[in-house]
Symmetry: C2
Subunit: 294 residues, 2 copies
């Protein structure tokens, strides 16, 4: 298929590369000039990319960026033709997604919201899970593209339901990790060796993919960003905004958000979100390199 | 071995029954008269039970109850002899555990803290995990008893480290479930079908044994107590007390505790702790039986 790929960040670039690998004709555009994907053509604007495609795939950082690639001067909208499909793999506002769906429908263009889970490694290995909202028929039409980039498409319901479910997933990741970090800080201060706590977790019903993945890095205090703190922070904001609009109270997530605010203030934005543990350790007076890492 | 088993509650009774099944000579005592375990002798007091035993196994509801079965009039202490071992499978204060260890040591009695994870079903099927603190040699001596009641003993370190690690585990269970409940409330209010969210969770890194176990009950809004809310509430209190004493800040758990306070005020103590979801649904105006259970 002919695909315009908009956004070549930490996720978008390997996703576009996997489309090329699967034999699709990709025209790529990135806000940052000079980003390339081998085998893909480069477009000077979202409009130029969309003009050469039947499907426009968006993977940018936030709601404002999606609005910009679609609707600003030289945005993709100006090149959209009836029957085209726009797929948005960014994680953005469900409410704004519904407004975009309506605006594109006026031009006879279909929209699928399909944020992903699986982070950088999943993008590189084509093992992403797409969390999709929209019409069944449209999702079926782009199935070959989903297959080229992921292992699974979960159809959550109508428009914006992919975004709603994605927020609900990241909420859980943030809470699972905060629970782990608080448990680790407490157990360490009380005298339990961190590796022993992790071993116990792995043998129990507390075990999850989140901690399976994070624990080895945390035990080494390796906070190199797989999922940067600032992006998790952004998703938490988005989730609390959506919750406020929908009149849903999320006390746990509100508290976790306060911790991310402090982490931001202390300059940890570009570390992995696992670095929120550093704050708990600091507040508890745990000296890493001694008790915490023995 | 000759075992005095003190406490025949939701956990203690099946544990004592499994000791009998494995051929051990059990003398049981329960605060509530009339509770029996087939094949076990009944003692009129903890002291009488301990007098007929080499190992005293305690499984009661809280720190005060442990103090009482050991040190009150007709408490087990008065019948303890040098070389005996006291094993405490209750979940209690790590700090108080250290004080008990010291007091028993004066009589030449060893102590192992061995709280369990696996709840009622694990106790019945002899699949408990014991989270143990104390001397390696003492733990080795009671290995046949651990084997009769559980599938695994995790030795976490010196005295009270089993209690410390147990608190860290329940902290995580409470946080994982709160994350799930907030995710479910938000997604439901935004229009995602609850079963679809659960299915997505099961396919993702968010999956955990906690939610594998709870989700089927939650989808049916079946809050019959497997782990009663009042006991989880008690453990959260205990954890926050231990954290305060150790100068560890646990912001997430503090917030979850507030939710349990409200659940207690609203009379949900004897439901499963999963019933904390009811509060989120109430605050969000989600009508169960319609949107939430469709």
């Amino acid at each position: 298929m002919r695909v315009a790929f908009l956004g070549l960040g930490i996720m978008g670039r390997p996703m576009a590369a996997n489309l090329v690998k699967a034999g699709h004709e990709v025209t790529a555009w990135s806000r940052t000039p000079g980003k390339l994907v081998e085998g893909a053509r480069v477009a000077a604007s979202p409009a130029e990319a969309a003009g050469a495609a039947d499907v426009v795939w968006i993977c940018v950082s936030d709601t404002a960026a999606v609005d910009s690639v679609l609707f600003e001067t030289n945005g993709a909208e100006s090149a959209l033709r009836e029957g085209m499909i726009v797929v948005d793999s960014s994680t953005i506002s469900p409410a704004r997604t519904l407004a975009i769906v309506a605006r594109l429908a006026e031009r006879g263009v279909e929209h699928i919201d399909a944020p992903v889970t699986g982070s950088k490694i999943g993008a590189e290995s084509a093992q992403l899970i797409f969390i999709a909202g929209g019409e069944e028929a449209a999702i079926a039409r782009v199935q070959p593209l989903f297959q080229a980039m992921g292992k699974l498409v979960k159809h959550m319901g109508g428009h914006a339901m992919g975004q709603a479910a994605k927020l609900a997933m990241n909420l859980q990741i943030a809470m699972i990790y905060e629970g782990f970090a608080e448990a680790l800080a407490l157990a360490t201060k009380l005298g339990v060796a961190p590796e022993k706590l992790v071993d116990l977790i792995q043998s129990s019903m507390v075990r999850s993919g989140v901690i399976d993945y994070k624990a080895p890095f945390v035990l080494k205090r390796d906070y190199s960003p797989n999922f940067p703190l600032r992006l998790m922070h952004k998703d938490i904001h988005l989730t609390l905004d959506a919750a406020r609009e929908a009149r849903v109270k999320l006390p746990g997530l509100e508290t976790v958000e306060e911790i991310y605010e402090v982490a931001h203030d202390e300059g940890h934005d570009d570390l992995d979100y696992a670095a929120t543990l550093m704050l708990l350790e600091k507040w508890a007076g745990i000296e890493v390199g001694t008790a915490a890492t023995r």
